[in-house]
């Protein structure tokens, strides 16, 4: 006899003494059972399960006498129940498909969201002993959190005791040349110690040495993706060179696949790099006290040191650094106190998205609950329709337990099918979901449908089976056999008890639906408010692109200025272009914040503070379509030789000049006592958002790029004055200008890559992307919830009407009008809906508070959203009631009565 592999596998589950003593007898007996069951028409799968249970019960103590017979009969009845359930499903295919599809949708959504929650929140970071990794931030004054400046990092490293190692990193962009098409790539400058601190090692080659870091050696480590993309995963890459910013870097290593660093999520230095180079602080950086707070610092704590302890230490040391190391001039000039704080790295990376993910998981959980209530209604209805069958079973001696078991096996089978379909659906949903969140949610790319997720799906299915099945099971089993058998073959009038149960289920559904609907309405309204905010410019017909001039090709300020002057002039001459300008940063993404002071501030106004600044050239304001409120915009006549000027925004005018005329007043960079040269205010520009649509407008200045000193243009360590964002307004569709812009750049420098080609409308859209995502997703959940709830109430009323046909017939025969019957059914339905609202609205009121941080310009208890949610829900519920109500009103009394 052939021996299937699974028989041998099960045989191996027996205790060793059995296997040794019985040898082949055991397998022979098992094979005989397989053959016996096959003759009886049992699926080999079921036989396998039975043999498995049989093998496992061998381990159970004390079951020897009683277990075999009862165990066997339990198993046999389960199998019989399962067969019965399959027959029932086949007999009502539409019913089965409806339930399985509903469950698949709800379980699929839960699985997809859970897989992301698991990857982002539950799994630890992919580094060695990740619980010991922390991120350390500096703070300037009590309000501003920033990275470390290079001198502060050096002083900090010399003083702390809590760490095995510290490492700094920061994002940069380099020009990659010597490949088919020059492009700008993401680079991370990293300390040599970074790999050790993270506990990772390159897959090929080696990490940086300290000498390479401090010596400023031109060496590079490639990310795995970049190595595959650009070098076809050539293993001989180590030792060869790549051209970055037109300088030759020697490749010393390649990182393993899956190493994605810096991780998205934290507030700065959050762009995964293609290439890593040593951070090699320059002399200017190392002496930059009081500026360039832009290095992220991570540390590996000594074993046993807590983040709280490290935090306390960091705060003390920051104070000491300020007192001991900072130049006296800075301290005396009112430079705010330094602070340093320590956060767990995991928290730093995923802290911002925890709220959103938990909200989404809760939302899909509620959705599943609504779906389960729907299914429970359907099962109850069917249980009622099968009351006679159940009654016969009971009369024939089946106890309450077997009847319950039968119903539970049925729902279990449905839930298993729904879960399996849901898993398939989750795969699709997850792809969709990931493409829309991978930008904004860190570590989401790690989401897979792995064992943990499958276990979650299984648990969700079992939970769903119990929620859907317990109530119908209980109800079926409590029917009295005597009463039922006496009834005629037709389904009986719903009992008061049954109506109550249906009522509770439907009301629960509507309570859940209104919570989701109110949440969705809040987010949709918040998104609408966001899109309605005025960014301060007209984004239509404007295209932006950026270029960055590497120091090797453009060593002097003159060469940089000449490049951009020529480029803007030529772009202005392109047919269709109405204005061309450039700035160091585009609106909504302004990075620069500076200390600032006003000459002779109005009485009672603190004339100093921190403001945003942007350096602009060409016809920038025209190209943006900015509003000039007073005075003039910056002009090409503002040059190095003319008076230093700035324009300010309305917010700055309001905050620092109150009602005074700001034009012709003077301002300067720095504090009140120690500031740079005065600059004259020549105009006030309408507010333009700097840090995203949802953020409040900050006070801002715009300074002519032409007036930036030559030394800064050529040598600023961040390269901010070498990379300009071109802004081109046109009278033609803006994207049609892209080839012309590329051609003009190529004419000036064929090797120079262009990046960031986007319309300003896209810039605005990107700024609202996360709100759009939240609104879309929760809006969709709310829609599905509404649909399910409508199906629930529609179904329950339809059943109720069909049960009451006779009663309705009598009413009509006794003179009730069709309108009365219609009203009666609608009233019955809407009573349940209102009951649901009575529970759901307070619940929504309590739970939307968690959305507060996700909302823009809308309170968590926004009455408009709540009223809208309630109105939509009532309208849909009314529509759902209408069909059964109309049917009831058209009952023909004669037919209804004759049918008895």
């Amino acid at each position: 006899m052939p021996r299937p592999w699974w028989v041998s596998a099960i045989a191996r589950l027996y205790p060793r003494e059995y296997r040794e003593r019985l040898g082949d007898d055991l397998v022979d007996a098992m094979l005989a059972c397989v053959a016996r069951e096959r003759r009886g028409g049992v699926w080999p799968l079921l036989t396998g399960v039975r043999l498995l249970v049989d093998a496992l019960t061998t381990f159970l103590p004390g079951t020897v006498r009683s277990a075999p017979s009862t165990g066997d009969s339990l198993m046999q009845s389960l199998i019989a129940d399962l067969r019965h359930a399959i027959r029932m499903l086949r007999r009502a295919p539409l019913f089965s498909v409806l339930i399985v599809a509903t469950l698949a949708l709800a379980i699929g959504a839960n699985t997809a969201i859970f897989s992301v929650v698991d990857a982002v929140l539950l799994r630890s970071l992919p580094y060695a002993q990740p619980e010991r990794l922390v991120t350390i931030y500096e703070g300037i004054g009590s309000t501003m959190t920033a990275g470390f400046s290079a001198p502060d990092l050096m002083a900090f490293r010399d003083r702390v005791r809590s760490y095995d190692g510290l490492a700094a990193f920061r994002n940069a962009e380099f020009e990659l040349s010597g490949v088919d098409q020059p492009e700008r790539i993401h680079v991370a400058r990293i300390s040599a110690s970074l790999m050790d601190v993270l506990g990772v090692a390159p897959a090929l080659g080696r990490a940086f040495t300290n000498a390479e870091d401090t010596g400023g050696q031109l060496v590079a480590i490639l990310s795995n993706g970049f190595w595959q993309r650009k070098f076809g995963a050539d293993p001989s890459i180590v030792g060869r060179s790549v051209s970055l910013d037109r300088r030759s870097y020697t490749v010393v290593g390649v990182m393993p696949a899956g190493f994605r660093f810096p991780s998205p999520g934290p507030q700065l230095n959050n762009v995964p790099a293609d290439v890593y180079v040593p951070i090699s602080f320059t002399r200017i950086e190392l002496n930059g006290f009081g500026m360039m707070y832009n290095n992220s610092v991570i540390g590996r704590l000594h074993a046993g040191v807590t983040a709280e302890h490290a935090d306390a230490e960091a705060r003390t040391i920051a104070t000491r650094i300020f007192d001991e190391v900072y130049p006296a001039g800075l301290r005396e000039n009112g430079f705010p106190q330094l602070i340093a704080t320590v956060t767990r790295m995991q928290e730093d990376i995923v802290g911002n998205v925890r709220r959103l993910l938990v909200v989404l998981l809760a939302a899909v959980g509620v959705l599943l609950l609504i779906a389960c209530a729907d299914i429970a209604c359907l099962m109850l209805t069917r249980a009622a329709a099968r009351a006679r069958e159940m009654a016969i079973r009971t009369a024939l001696g089946a106890g309450r337990a077997p009847v319950m078991r039968l119903v539970l096996v049925e729902t279990g089978l449905l839930a298993a099918l729904g879960g399996a379909a849901g898993l398939g659906l989750a795969w699709t949903l997850q792809r969709l979901f990931l493409t829309s969140i991978s930008e904004s949610v860190p570590r989401a790319e790690a989401a897979t449908l792995d064992g943990r997720v499958v276990v979650f799906t299984a648990l969700a299915s079992i939970g769903a089976a119990l929620v859907c099945g317990l109530l119908p099971a209980f109800e079926s089993s409590r029917r009295q056999s005597s009463g039922m058998l006496k009834e005629s073959g037709r389904a009986s009038t719903a009992s008061a008890r049954e109506r109550r149960i249906f009522g509770v289920l439907v009301a629960t559904q509507f309570a859940c639906a209104v919570v989701l609907l109110a949440s969705g309405a809040l987010l949709v309204r918040s998104f609408a408010r966001l899109m309605a905010t005025d960014p301060g410019f007209r984004g239509d017909r404007v295209i932006a692109a950026s270029t960055s001039l590497p120091a090797t090709g453009y060593p002097t300020a003159a060469s940089i200025r000449s490049f951009y002057a020529t480029l803007l002039e030529r772009l202005g001459a392109v047919p269709g272009v109405t204005a061309a300008g450039a700035a160091t940063d585009l609106p909504l993404t302004v990075r620069e914040r500076r200390a600032f002071t006003v000459e002779h501030p109005p009485a009672g106004v603190d004339g100093s503070g921190t403001i945003a600044n942007d350096w602009v050239t060409g016809h920038y304001f025209e190209a943006l379509g900015a509003r000039i409120i007073r005075g003039r915009a910056l002009a090409p006549s503002d040059s190095q030789t003319s008076e230093a000027v700035v324009v300010i925004n309305e917010t700055l005018a309001r905050q620092y000049f109150h009602g005074d005329e700001p034009v012709n007043r003077r301002v300067a960079w720095g504090g009140a006592r120690n500031h740079g040269p005065w600059m004259r205010v020549v105009g006030v520009i309408g507010d333009i958002k700097q840090a995203g649509l949802a953020k409040p407008t900050e006070p801002q200045t715009w300074q002519p790029w032409a007036q930036v000193p030559d030394a800064a243009v050529a040598n600023n360590p961040t390269g901010i004055f070498r990379s300009l964002q071109l802004v081109v307004r046109s009278s033609v569709p803006p994207t049609s200008l892209v080839p012309a812009i590329r051609a003009e750049v190529r004419r000036l420098d064929p090797a120079l890559p262009i990046t960031g080609v986007q319309t300003l409308e896209e810039v605005v859209g990107a700024s609202a992307a996360s709100q759009r995502f939240n609104a879309t997703l929760l809006g969709a959940f709310a829609g599905v919830a509404l649909l399910l709830a409508a199906l629930g109430i529609g179904g329950v009323l339809a059943i109720s009407v069909s049960r009451r046909t006779q009663e309705i017939g009598i009413r009509l025969a006794l003179g009730a009008r069709a309108g009365d019957v219609l009203g009666m059914v609608v009233r019955q339905g809407m009573t349940l809906v209102l009951g649901g609202l009575a529970i759901g609205l307070p619940a929504a009121y309590a739970s939307t508070r968690v959305l507060r941080s996700l909302l823009f310009d809308v309170t968590a208890h926004d009455p408009v959203s709540f009223v809208a949610a309630t109105a939509v829900l009532c309208a849909v519920a009314l529509a759902a009631c209408a069909a059964p109500a109309l049917r009831a009103s058209r009952v023909d009394p004669i037919t209804a009565l004759r049918n008895d």
Binding site: L22, D24, D25, A32, T57, S69
Partner: protein, 109 residues
């Protein structure tokens, strides 16, 4: 009088009453006699044979010469006098019930 024994013990002992058998043959014999009503499963069967042996109702014996099954040398079991008594007592107990049913005219005489 002996305490009642489980139904499957009775059937196993009954199988061994007329001849020594190995596990597989006990399984098939019980299945046949009960018209497929009592299905013994390997784990259940051997667990109970072990238990019966502990209670002294059966013993394991040397495999008789020539009794090969499926290529191996199957283990044979023999009923003990105690087993015979327990089985008979159970049969008597059941016969008593049958007699009662007959007296109540549930069964034809």
């Amino acid at each position: 009088m002996n305490a009642p024994i489980p139904a499957h013990w009775f059937q196993i002992l009954l199988s061994l009453a007329d001849e020594d058998r190995h596990g597989l043959r006990i399984m098939n014999d019980v299945l046949e006699r009960t018209n497929g009503q009592m299905k013994l499963w390997p784990g259940m069967l051997y667990r109970n044979l072990a238990k019966l042996a502990v209670d002294g109702l059966v013993v394991e014996i040397e495999t008789p010469a020539g009794a090969e099954s499926g290529g191996g040398r199957p283990r044979f079991y023999r009923i003990t006098p105690a087993g015979r008594r327990a089985c008979a007592a159970e049969a008597v107990r059941m016969a008593g019930f049958v007699e009662a049913a007959r007296r109540k005219r549930l069964l034809k005489a």
